[in-house]
């Protein structure tokens, strides 16, 4: 409409523009302010959490925290070394179980699968990643803890692996799909079998993106508490046995935070700080990998 008026009455159109200019400026400023406000609303909770945790936790961070296990109630000092070690064991084992399944599943979806079965698998993976983690814990409990007649690191790692699989699967699949078909064809046309092409050309080209996905999956499960509650259970002492209950940082934070002791509260805050900083570092590393990946 306005273009029609402008061709027939250019002078009127121009004055209209002139008159509406301040109004348009006002609208523009208003929207800019609204969006700026929304941005702050996003950043504020993160900033609040981070500042609060640093404030509460920093005073209890010391060498002791990293090398000692919790002291018996009433005795001062102690740390969460066993929890950090336990978390590493759990994440390491979960990665060993979850990452290969996720990557091979993604290769199947992207390189081999027919379209119908792929749709089904993709849907299942999306549902799996939406399942509340406490339920994943229950499944691991009934599948491993009950038959093995005891809580164990193995059961905890299994529960975490279940959470990792769909994340690794979907991110890897996306990355593989971004590899241009022309590269696969170049390799196939040289008489390289599909499986070698997939491993040495396709997966290799997508490697940085796949690593990013793995790091994000690790960051996600590093803070998971619910699936560990009745699988790994937690442990006040050193344990590295896979068939025994094992300590984990999030579990220790939970147990210490709800305890009635001031000392333990401080340790819980310190644990929270370590956990948050670790996840921050993982996310940053993932981003770094992601960026260098896209540059190539």
């Amino acid at each position: 409409m306005s273009s029609m008026t402008s061709t027939s009455q250019p002078a009127v159109e121009q004055t209209n523009n002139m008159r509406s200019l301040p109004l348009r400026h006002a609208k523009n400023s208003l929207m800019t302010i609204l969006m700026g406000g929304a941005l702050l609303a996003v950043l504020f909770p993160l900033g609040l959490i981070f500042v609060h945790i640093v404030k509460m936790g920093i005073s209890s961070i010391s060498l002791d925290f990293f090398i000692h296990i919790p002291q018996p109630t009433g005795e001062a000092g102690g740390g969460m070394a066993n929890g950090m070690f336990g978390s590493l064991v759990l994440i390491g084992m979960a990665s060993l179980m979850g990452i290969p399944v996720g990557i091979f599943g993604a290769i199947y979806l992207s390189e081999y699968g027919g379209s119908r079965i792929s749709t089904v698998i993709r849907f299942c993976a999306d549902v799996l990643s939406g399942i509340p983690s406490i339920i994943t814990g229950m499944v691991a409990y009934s599948m491993l803890v009950v038959p093995m007649k005891g809580f164990s690191a193995l059961a905890g790692a299994f529960a975490l692996a279940l959470i990792m699989i769909p994340i690794v699967l979907r991110t890897t699949e996306e990355q593989l799909k971004m590899v241009p078909t022309s590269l696969r064809e170049a390799s196939l046309a040289l008489g390289v079998p599909l499986w070698r092409t997939t491993l040495k050309v396709t997966l290799r080209s997508a490697l940085t993106g796949v690593l990013t996905g793995i790091l994000l999956a690790i960051a996600r499960v590093a803070g998971e508490t619910a699936p560990l509650l009745f699988t790994a259970l937690g442990n006040q002492f050193w344990s590295s046995s896979l068939t025994q209950p094992i300590a984990a940082l999030p579990l220790q934070i939970f147990n210490f935070a709800i305890s009635p002791y001031e000392d333990w509260h401080r340790l819980a805050w310190a644990g929270a700080l370590v956990l948050v900083v670790t996840m921050f570092a993982l996310s940053l590393t993932a981003r770094y990998f992601g960026r260098t990946g896209h540059k190539n």
Binding site: S182, L183, A186, L188, A189, G191, L194
Partner: protein, 252 residues
């Protein structure tokens, strides 16, 4: 001339689309055959059928026979991987492996298959690059990334990579369409030299190019082979009206 590759009633379907319709052609050995025709006439589809690239496309179905010497490459028990070692392919856009050096790109056909001997590899790389006239330009920087080369150099690198695995037939899908005139000229000279050792089948949009490089030309229209004959004759006195209309620019 005895035929190296022979299409016998070749049909290609994509889902419900009949893209290539009952094509019979003989591609003579040690010569260049050009496939020309307007966009969407099925020329690339025919080319890709010859080294079983359609195996990778969901919904694509190839019927009829393609004989390499006397073996049906779609026959039972034939391994497409073995076929692709005999029938190499050069693509429209240069596609060197981006994470590899120039050297590794040339030897990729061996390396990706996990079999290379150092001294042998050096020799293969040098002779392949010599043959595509790229050796003098890159011999001092074989270890640098292949993506640093110009488009024309990349395409010659891709041809070197293809001939390094010693195929018998080379398929070229508009190999010069993404290149500048000078690089195009180099590729065309290269094709001329390569036909002494290989049977070359080239798809091209550029009729002058077909006239310059090929011995035999096949004209496709709407998935059908309209006419196939000695290039000189096809471009001067074609048998079919459609061919004449196309090469004189009346349609397409």
């Amino acid at each position: 001339m005895n035929s190296k590759v022979k299409l016998d009633d070749l049909n290609v379907h994509f889902g419900g689309t009949h893209a290539v319709k009952g094509v019979d052609i003989d591609f003579p050995a040690n010569s260049v055959t050009a496939i020309i025709g307007p966009s969407g006439c099925g020329k690339s589809t025919v080319l890709r059928a010859i080294n079983r690239m359609h195996d990778m496309t969901p919904g694509a179905q190839v019927s009829g026979r393609i004989l390499l010497d006397d073996t049906d490459i779609y026959g039972r028990g034939i391994d497409p991987v073995a076929i692709r070692r005999k029938i190499g392919m050069v693509f429209q856009k240069p596609n060197p492996f981006p994470a590899m050096s120039i050297y590794d790109n040339v030897i990729a056909g061996y390396k990706l298959n996990g079999r290379t001997r150092r001294d042998e590899a050096d020799e293969i790389v040098e002779s392949s690059l010599q043959r595509v006239a790229l050796w003098d330009e890159v011999k001092d920087r074989l270890k640098s990334n292949a993506m640093e080369l110009s488009g024309g150099q990349q395409q010659r690198l891709c041809i070197a990579r293809t001939i390094a695995v010693r195929p018998e037939v080379i398929l070229m899908d508009e190999p010069a369409s993404a290149l500048d005139p000078l690089s195009t000229l180099k590729i065309e000279e290269l094709i001329e030299e390569l036909k002494e050792r290989y049977t070359i089948i080239i798809v091209t949009h550029n009729m002058q190019q077909a006239a310059r490089v090929s011995d035999v030309t096949a004209f496709f229209y709407l998935g059908e082979l309209i006419e196939c004959g000695v290039t000189k004759k096809l471009f001067t006195t074609p048998d079919k009206k459609q061919t004449e209309d196309y090469i004189t620019g009346r349609f397409g």
